[in-house]
Symmetry: C2
Subunit: 257 residues, 2 copies
């Protein structure tokens, strides 16, 4: 029996999210089906975290226990040759039996892409949130620092969520401006972007997207620091900003000890 | 009556190409349908060039004659609010009555993206040709220079094409290495890319894709300069390389006097 740690990238556009659900095709379901074929019996892929419908990942982590002995490179090739093209295992390693992708995670890094431009970039529409308005990136970054640290993030989660505790630790948050990449470099109209990156111990449902929606209010000048502070203290979803759409969000990395 | 010059970007994944066809949805068909709604009668959008099924554009140019007088900004907004999300008019201007998007074009610039990596990048799969092999970019660039100038490109077109003449002028060709953009910068496994850019007076059907397929043969060391020269001189499709798939190709720009 070997415990395999997988690093998985996926375009979440066509999926109900990481987690298996009755309502549609999930990334976890696809990965388990393919590994089950190779193993010859059903397997469970434990993911580091759920991602919502339409959310992407460059570095989701999952672990699976396999009886069959295979070289890691062979597993990667066998799995990728069977997976749909929008999901890929990008790395794999054999880890200690005790390793658990969810319980052992010490931090997760998410990135959100806001694409600027007078006209929506048709190539970025699946991978960012289009914004016609200009942002004050510095003010967003400053306001975002108020969320760093250990806080009760009850205002910053999907309405109606129930969890044991809504206290989470945000290690860092940065708001930066970037070019939208090589493909678009000749065409200024197709825009540049604002990237919001957060690293935290764990995240409530929709937490990153509500943080993004709130910082956008600051970016366009509708809110200032006091609105962010008020929302945080209130522990009331109604006081935070709108939930940013899923297609701009990427799970970049999961950290372990 | 005003003659409107439109600059159009589109993700070609879901289309049979620029040109109206009985077999499926075309970009031209979508643009004409939307402009026809605004105009109140059918219109014709003359495109600078056809793009094949699955080929993208950042700077396709078309002209349309409209009876209705509207400010250019209003046309852009009205059209974009009705177009599918994978097509966008990124710019528009009123031009002389005599302007014709196809006949007046003096050059077109195409770019082809080859994405490198041990594992296919799920975000690049619709916008590049995945390559596991490493390329010798310098040798590709050197071989590509043999195609620059006025030549009979009969070897470098889709088999069975019929045109008056297969002589075309290639103004420039460059093969360069680039990073795959901001989104992927943290994950080396998700790769960098080779970009082949060509500028020419006009292109035969599949010409850019056959050039790319041929230069890839050079890049992996299977061919050298003499193979490219032989293919060019032969005027025989069988001597050129395979046709590269459409999803890596972008019409970047159309030049006018």
């Amino acid at each position: 029996m070997s415990n395999l740690k997988l690093k998985i990238a996926y375009d979440g556009t066509s999926y109900v999210g990481w987690q298996r659900q009755a309502t549609g095709s999930s990334v976890q379901g696809c990965v388990e089906a393919v590994l089950g074929e190779i193993e010859g019996s059903s397997v469970i892929a434990v993911g580091a975290g759920r991602t919502d419908a339409g959310v992407h990942a460059l570095g989701q982590v999952a672990n699976v226990r396999l009886r069959r002995r295979m070289a890691v490179g062979s597993v990667i090739r066998a799995v990728n040759s069977r997976l749909p093209k929008d999901i890929r295992v990008v790395d794999a390693e054999i880890v200690q039996d005790s390793f658990h992708a969810r319980f052992d995670a010490t931090a997760k890094v998410y990135r959100y892409r806001l694409i600027h431009g007078e006209v929506m970039n048709p190539f970025a529409r699946r991978y960012g949130w289009w914004q016609r308005a200009e942002f004050d990136t510095e003010r967003m970054n400053e306001a975002g620092q108020l969320l760093v640290g250990e806080h009760d993030f009850a205002s910053f989660q999907a309405a109606g969520s129930s969890t044991d505790t809504t206290v989470r630790r945000l290690f860092s948050l940065s708001v930066t401006r970037a070019q939208a990449g090589q493909l678009w470099s000749e065409d200024d109209e197709l825009g540049d972007m604002t990237i919001i990156e957060v690293r935290g111990s764990g995240f409530l449902r929709h937490m990153v997207r509500v943080i993004v929606g709130s910082l956008v209010q600051v970016g366009v000048g509708r809110w200032d620091n006091t609105d962010i502070e008020r929302a945080l203290v209130a522990c009331d979803r109604a006081l935070a900003g709108p939930t940013a759409p899923p297609q701009g969000l990427f799970l970049m990395r999961v950290d372990y000890e």
